[in-house]
């Protein structure tokens, strides 16, 4: 393996770019190995900027897991910003890793994490900057290009570009794949040999072994070329989180990142079963870490980093079985040194507000809740499990404790939604504000403020709503206008909503099939990148790219599937029975609830049986839990 560093060339450009520290690497606690002394290497690529990518826990975990193995190496790379990209292109410099400033193409594996559909153009752009051929079939030798993350549950839009998709939790399977690379290289085998033998590793989807077949509806699906190839690829799962690697000497980013705090992962999975939520399905079952282990991890992390805040990460931290005890322990250990605790995901209830008050004893900044829908009927349809009483209990508790600004998140465009449901958002917001004014402490003069974040619903694969299309442009526009009209006279409520074209494109790439690869390539050639950033997003170029391929993103986004229709992602499984998802979809239509399975009532989603796993709930020593 070559070990060329292009640091001297990169360094020359640093005085002329914004935030140069994002390109230097060498952060405190960085792991730097000699590439010549390891047997296989991977560069973990985050297809967005350093500030965003360094806040991603998955990167930290994979980085730690791989580098903990003596014979393996993992470095990091991020999407360069426009000014640096221009320099790299002018000077014919390849995209590089941060640890040793080595060109990406010199690694055995180039691995992307796919967190958001609108970052796909950045994946192509990073490959191009790395001087790696974009199309998988055109790449004869190394590196192997792989991808993981939540978006791989529908891998098809990227299946022309990626050699291997990693489905599910990556910490173990990454190592298995790298060990295979090591073996193949020792034997002098090539990449094709590697792909052949990678078929034996569970959780890998290797598109070149699947043919593209047109289903009755015209949708392109994938079928195995031969009997040796799994018809369905099941996700990988860490059954016991307490036994998995967790980074305890966390990297300290060189520049302030979007979530600049210690990351303590307290659990994975969520049993609530909100019917719109992909994360609530694909990360099942619930696995909580042991509170005493977390306490020890927090101690080590604080000592190793000096961070001022401990962020408790999970899909819904207030659901963690021992959350109060855990917060008490962490506060006891750290508050005397001005190290605080942060809860980034709050439930909509009074209990959560009490937790927030507990951790934010000094700063009364703001709280965020996500009722998701304005009417009770629609909240029942989406199985949000939040009543109007919960909402008022939460917001009144917050206002009475002195919070003056609250954010509420909603969605429009949900299945079965009527205009009355949309008006109900405005109505609920006004009632929350009025109730808040009544309970607000007299000594606080600052007027109350509500901010509504209203997203357009994007139906995601592997959810009970996967069969539904997104609302079309006109309907979404009408609903946004309706909300604007309702809320315009009210000065204390700020309304934020999403760009409709971006949401529909996101829906198209979330639900589309392999034909989208050609569109993506065209959009990339036209210069699309950073599509999730308002200032870079080019709706016009995307529209052209679709027209030139004879496809319409609006149709893909809004297409409704029937129960027995073939789905572009049906060869990928997150362990949930598809029948159960359909049952949930039927229950949604009549607004029937499905309870959280963490309390013992199994709803029969199938994940525990299919993946030989179970919900793991935390208990404290001395508890009487069974």
């Amino acid at each position: 393996m070559l070990t060329i560093s292009i640091w001297p060339q990169i360094k020359k450009n640093l005085p002329d770019v914004q935030k140069p520290a994002q390109y230097i690497g060498g952060e405190f606690n960085q792991i730097s190995k000699d590439a010549a002394k390891v047997s296989a290497s991977m560069v973990f690529c985050f297809p967005d900027t350093y500030e965003i990518g360094m806040s991603h826990l998955g990167l930290r975990i994979i980085y730690e897991a791989i580098n903990a193995e003596e014979d393996l190496l993992c470095e990091r790379a991020f999407a360069p910003q426009a000014d640096m990209e221009a320099k790299l292109r002018q000077q014919h410099l390849p995209l590089f890793s941060l640890e040793n400033h080595r060109p990406l193409k010199e690694f055995d594996i180039v691995g992307f994490t796919l967190q958001y559909e609108m970052s796909y153009s950045n994946v192509l752009n990073m490959l191009e900057l790395a001087e790696i051929p974009l199309i998988a079939a055109d790449r004869m030798g190394w590196p192997l290009v792989i991808a993981g993350g939540p978006c791989v549950y529908n891998p098809e839009p990227l299946s022309d570009f990626i050699d291997v998709f990693v489905i599910g939790e990556g910490e173990q399977v990454s190592i298995e794949l790298m060990r295979l690379v090591k073996e193949i290289k020792n034997e002098g085998g090539d990449k094709q040999e590697l792909l052949n033998r990678a078929l034996k590793i569970d959780g890998l989807y290797i598109p070149c072994f699947y043919k593209k077949v047109a289903a009755k509806t015209g949708v392109i699906i994938r079928e195995p070329e031969s009997g040796q190839v799994p018809a369905v690829v099941k996700k990988r799962l860490c059954v016991d989180l307490d036994k998995t690697v967790f980074p305890l000497k966390a990297l300290l980013p060189n520049i302030q990142t979007v979530h600049d705090r210690l990351m303590l992962e307290i659990m994975r999975g969520c049993g609530r079963g909100c019917r719109f939520c992909q994360a609530g399905i694909i990360y099942r079952p619930i696995r909580e870490r042991d509170p005493d282990l977390l306490r020890e991890q927090a101690r080590q992390l604080v000592a190793a980093t000096g961070y001022e805040d401990i962020g408790l990460l999970s899909l819904s931290s207030a659901d963690y079985s021992c959350i109060s005890e855990l917060i008490d322990m962490l506060m006891a250990d750290h508050s005397c040194r001005n190290v605080g605790v942060a809860l980034p995901s709050l439930r909509v209830d009074a209990f959560s507000v009490d937790l927030a008050a507990k951790v934010q004893q000094v700063r009364k900044s703001g709280l965020t809740f996500a009722p998701e829908a304005g009417s009770q009927q629609l909240r029942n349809i989406i199985n949000k499990g939040v009543s109007e009483e919960n909402i008022f209990a939460a917001t009144e508790a917050a206002f009475s404790q002195g919070y003056t600004a609250i954010k509420l998140y909603f969605m429009i465009g949900l299945p079965y939604e009527s205009n009355e449901d949309v008006v109900a958002i405005a109505d609920l917001a006004q009632r929350v504000l009025l109730a808040g004014r009544k309970v607000k402490p007299a000594e606080i003069r600052k007027p109350l403020k509500l901010t509504l974040g209203v997203a357009s619903f994007v139906p995601k694969p592997h959810t009970p709503f996967q069969w539904h299309g997104a609302n079309n442009e006109e309907v979404l526009k009408e609903k946004q206008e309706l909300l604007k009209k309702q809320l315009r006279p009210i000065k204390s409520i700020t309304l934020n909503y999403h760009d409709i074209t971006t949401s529909l494109l996101e829906a198209a790439f979330a639900r589309g099939d392999s034909r989208l690869g050609k569109v993506l390539l065209r959009a990339h050639d036209k210069g699309c990148r950073f599509d999730g950033w308002k200032e870079y997003f080019r709706a016009d170029l995307w529209a052209q790219a679709f027209v030139e391929e004879g496809l319409d993103y609006r149709n893909i986004a809004t297409q409704t599937f029937a129960c027995d229709d073939a789905l572009p992602w049906q060869h990928i499984s997150c362990g949930i029975d598809s029948d159960w998802l359909w049952q949930e979809n039927l229950k949604a239509a009549s607004g029937q609830p499905t309870v959280d399975c963490r309390n013992g009532d199994c709803n029969g989603c199938g994940v525990c049986a299919n993946l030989a796993s179970a919900n793991v709930l935390a208990t404290r020593a001395g508890d009487d839990h069974e």
Binding site: L14, A21, I24, G26, G306, Y307, V339
Partner: protein, 213 residues
Amino acid sequence: MNKWRLSLSISGKIVYLSHLDLLASFERALRRSGLPVAYSLGFNPHMLISWGPAHPVGVGGDNEYCDLVFAEPVDEQWQQQLNAVLPDGLHLNSARPLLDGATSLMAAINYAQYLIELPDNVNTTALDVAIEQLFKSDSCVIERISPKARKRLDIRGAIDMLKRDGKLLCLSCRLGGTPTPKISELAEILGVTVCSARRTGLFIDGNNGKILP
């Protein structure tokens, strides 16, 4: 009060951190050290540290200063204890106890010296002419464009001394009062490119000449 004046050096990759990011990095090191740094009272407690002039991004520093308050007395070992946990490129040179009522660094420091390294192929004849030219004129106006505004600034008053020594350029600047040029702006005026630059010293220039903070 248990106040100290610290002299730090900044070198290597860390010079590309912005001043604010460097401060965050230093505060995290202090927390790792376990030293009893004092915090402000109030709703948002912060460490009682006050810094001298911000280091320019990309420019190293041999002697950069900050004043730090400890909540309780510290033993002699504290400087080694801090150095052991500082990130690569950040080093505590020395520290001295400070009396109550000492003038703040920002108010006191008004003079800086820089050493600028030029490439091997620099045209020294042209550079010498440019330096002479600069000193002959009473004003030197540059345009500074930021995302928010476009400003015209006369930086001549800030330049006290500029000397070439081989391919090194020694610059002395007055800080505060008149606009100070960035190294890149000065390089443009002189028609040279810069390999590296570092701030070698910060001083209090008063009636008794230049003294260290």
